[in-house]
């Protein structure tokens, strides 16, 4: 009999030799890794010009535009190219109302109108101090902020993109800004590095990690654990390794226009930008036969490979403007956890978080944003920006996002979001000078040329950032059960049936009902047999 038992077991195990899903580390690279390695093999930088030997860069400079003119004396197309890009216009080429230079709203400092000198410290230009700034000027392009490599060139936070002429302390941070050594700075130019891009993009929203969640100062010199591509102990990519550039147009999303129209790899088209994961990794990057390859048509790589964002530095998750303007227990600033303020009289209440689990939405690469002209429904939470995409769209994927919440002013009569005049001298009516909401809103909306009824309140809003940096090493990629379970990360995502997450409750109830009835029936039947057997025996024993 034991021999007979072994037989089927032995055959069973013979039939499922590959059943153990454990990954064999000794096997070769996944095709997607091998592909990407080939796509980025050349790492040497080369140049045919030593900028320190150009006479024009050895002249005496007094200002940024003077340097720009020197640059343009050779690179005579560069300013004109740059003028066409979002880095210069801050507007959606399809709709001039849209964009941070237009009337688009966010739930951080809300809008640039009337607040220019503060916001445009991150404009790659000089002197955008108000709406009269002429965007056609070539020498107002700031070549240095993107190209200088000394790391000493720092635009002052409130000078409309200019640097300082003498050492100046920025009171808000206590940091001293130094005037640049123009010649050194100008002669150091090269292709942009992380220091150039990060100088603005890691500080979006006016501080480290305020806006993005997947970009902050920890990305200047990230470890491989924080970002497999940029890790200094790994591939050590600069931003432009993926954000490839043509005529100063840096690959990336432009508001409602996706970074690239179609998902392709360099093998299908070697002229595409390397901006998407697929560009280098292909559409089925995992080892042959891995189920993950069957997911890439619906799930963005980022969804599994960025399990959390803000893994080193905290990021701002909530900003409530409604409490701004009044001191809190006599204090202008209150420090909260994670070494970040939880309250600032100028800005209201904040919540900072670390190791944040993203939220997931269908995403085709485009994001729609409200402008100050759009009518809102203030009875609920108002999405100020939201990802576009849907389950049936072949270009849409389930993608992770940082969702920044907050409360911001809106017009109770016109049902529009309001632009406050935040930054400026007291006599201009700026909120940060007077702490008078009504006055600041009147000034801001008037400047933007938009109506304001005079009646305002605060409405809860959300603003989204696609999470795409901080790609974790593959060992840290999400486990199946992170989504395929009752406690799914994708709990709110509709339009698909997900095994493990979804079920028909009525079917489960009926199913278990039948199973339990079968079990109960069997047990009762068995019990009946035991009892009756006893009875029968007793009856049989009677004389």
């Amino acid at each position: 009999m034991p021999r007979i038992l072994i037989w089927p077991l032995a055959v069973l195990f013979l039939m499922v030799p590959g059943a153990a899903p454990a990954e064999d580390a000794e096997l070769g690279d996944a095709p997607g890794r091998a592909l990407a390695r080939q796509a980025v093999m050349e790492r040497e930088r080369w140049t045919t010009a030593d900028h320190s030997r150009f006479d024009t860069l050895n002249q005496e400079f007094k200002s940024g535009p003077e340097v720009t003119r020197a640059c343009l004396s050779c690179h005579n197309e560069s300013a004109l190219q740059f003028h066409q890009t979002i880095h210069w216009t801050w507007r959606d080429p399809k709709d001039s109302d849209v964009g941070k230079g237009g009337l688009s709203i966010n739930n951080f400092c809300i809008n640039i109108q009337s607040n220019e000198p503060r916001c445009t410290s991150c404009h790659a230009g000089y002197g955008w101090k108000d709406k009269t700034f002429d965007l056609a000027q070539q020498d107002k392009v700031d070549c240095l902020v993107c190209h200088e490599q000394t790391g000493t060139y720092k635009k002052f936070p409130t000078k409309a993109g200019h640097v300082v002429d003498e050492p100046t302390v920025f009171p808000e941070s206590g940091e001293t800004f130094m005037p640049p050594n123009w010649n050194k700075v100008a002669q150091s130019v090269s292709r942009p590095t992380r220091n150039n891009c990060g100088g603005c993009h890691f500080y979006g929203g006016g501080g480290d990690g305020v806006k993005h969640g997947d970009m902050d100062s920890s990305m200047f010199k990230p470890s491989k654990a924080l970002d497999v591509h940029m890790g200094v102990d790994g591939q050590n990519f600069d931003c432009v390794r993926c954000h490839t550039t043509e005529e100063h147009r840096i690959a990336g999303r432009i508001y409602a226009t996706p970074a690239v129209p179609h998902r392709k790899s360099l093998i299908e088209d070697d002229m595409i930008p390397k901006i998407r994961c697929e560009s280098c990794h292909g559409a089925t990057p995992h080892k042959r036969g891995q189920k993950a390859n069957d997911h890439t048509d619906k799930v963005a790589c980022q969804s599994c490979h960025i399990p959390e964002f803000a893994r080193v530095n905290p990021t701002k998750m909530w900003w409530d403007w409604s409490t701004a303007g009044k001191k809190r227990d006599g204090e202008q600033k209150v420090m909260g956890p994670l070494g970040k303020p939880s309250f600032d009289m100028k800005k209201g209440d904040f919540r900072w978080e670390k190791d944040v689990t993203p939220e997931y939405f269908w995403f085709n690469g485009a994001i729609s944003t409200l402008t100050a002209k759009d009518v809102i429904d203030p009875t609920g939470v108002v999405p100020v920006s939201w990802p576009l995409g849907e389950p049936a769209d072949p270009d849409s994927r389930i993608h992770p996002f940082k969702v920044h919440g907050g409360k911001q002013p809106y017009d109770k009569v016109n049902k529009t979001l309001l632009i406050p005049h935040l930054f400026g001298k007291k006599e201009t009516g700026a909120f940060w000078g007077n702490f008078d909401w009504k006055l600041a809103l009147e000034k801001g909306m008037d400047y933007a040329g938009l109506p304001f009824s005079g009646e305002y309140d605060f409405v809860e809003t959300t603003y989204v950032f696609p999470t795409t940096h901080m790609v974790a090493p593959k060992e840290k990629a999400l486990d199946c059960a992170a989504c395929h379970s009752r406690q799914s990360r994708l709990a709110g995502l509709t339009g698909i049936y997900m095994p493990g997450r979804d079920r028909m409750d009525i079917l489960d109830m009926a199913g278990w009902g039948i199973v339990l009835l079968s079990l109960a029936g069997a047990l009762l039947h068995g019990l009946g047999r035991i009892i009756m057997k006893g009875n029968n025996r007793k009856e049989g024993n009677r004389p």
Binding site: I4, P21, V515, G526
Partner: protein, 218 residues
């Protein structure tokens, strides 16, 4: 039940028959365990592991099933599964009443008739409808990513999943009843033992009626 009649042993289940029975039993049990984990009912080995095993087990079952069908057809054993209503009521009455009164089973097992009418009906439904349907829905579920190229984009994964789950519940119910029914032999383990050894103990002098015989040519 043991009413003192003389018992003789007859060889009822051949080697391959016993093999396929137990192999299928093991496969179905593990398919149920991994399947309900993939369904999200509990967490045992992890979703990914459960799904990977479930896929392999499912394919193994399909292969085994092909062999079973081939065996049934070539040996003529399929005739053991031809349904009949003869004595069906008697058998049902036996399990409902007679068994409690210690009455003998109305249909004796024999080499030519190893299944009683109730078994014939159940096993026929199981092996001809329920199990193939489960394999078909499982295979469809497994090949979800190929649906568009097969022109099946209109198919709903939710519907296939629901059907597959519903059938799994029915198979689990069958399993419960089936295991219980093994205890209704002349001893609690008699039927199980027979399924291992192939030898079933039956009463001496059992006459198999003509209609029950599997070898009878139809």
């Amino acid at each position: 039940m043991n009413n003192g009649a003389n018992k003789i042993k007859i060889y009822l289940y051949s080697k391959f028959e016993r093999f396929w029975h137990w192999a299928q039993a093991i496969l179905i049990v593990f398919l149920l365990i991994t399947g309900f984990e993939a369904h999200g009912t509990y967490s045992l080995m992890g979703y990914g592991t459960a799904v990977a095993w479930h896929n392999w087990l499912g394919i193994a079952w399909l292969v085994l099933y092909v062999f079973i069908v081939f065996w049934l057809l070539t040996t003529g054993e399929w005739r053991q599964y031809t349904p009949t209503t003869r004595k069906l009521i008697d058998v049902a009455r036996y399990y409902a009443i007679g068994i409690f009164q210690g009455k003998p089973h109305p249909v004796k097992k024999a080499r030519d008739a190893k299944h009683n009418p109730l078994q014939r009906l159940t096993y026929m439904g199981l092996s001809a409808i329920l199990l193939p349907a489960q394999m078909a829905t499982g295979l469809l579920y497994y090949t979800y990513n190929n649906w568009p190229e097969w022109g099946l984009s209109g198919l709903s994964l939710a519907a296939v999943a629901a059907l597959h789950t519903a059938l799994a519940f029915l198979i689990l119910s069958f399993l419960v009843i089936h295991i219980y029914m093994t205890t209704t032999g002349h001893s609690l383990t008699a039927h199980v033992a027979a399924m291992f050894s192939g030898w079933e103990e039956v009463e001496e002098g059992t006459e198999v009626e003509e209609w029950e015989k599997a070898s009878q040519k139809i």
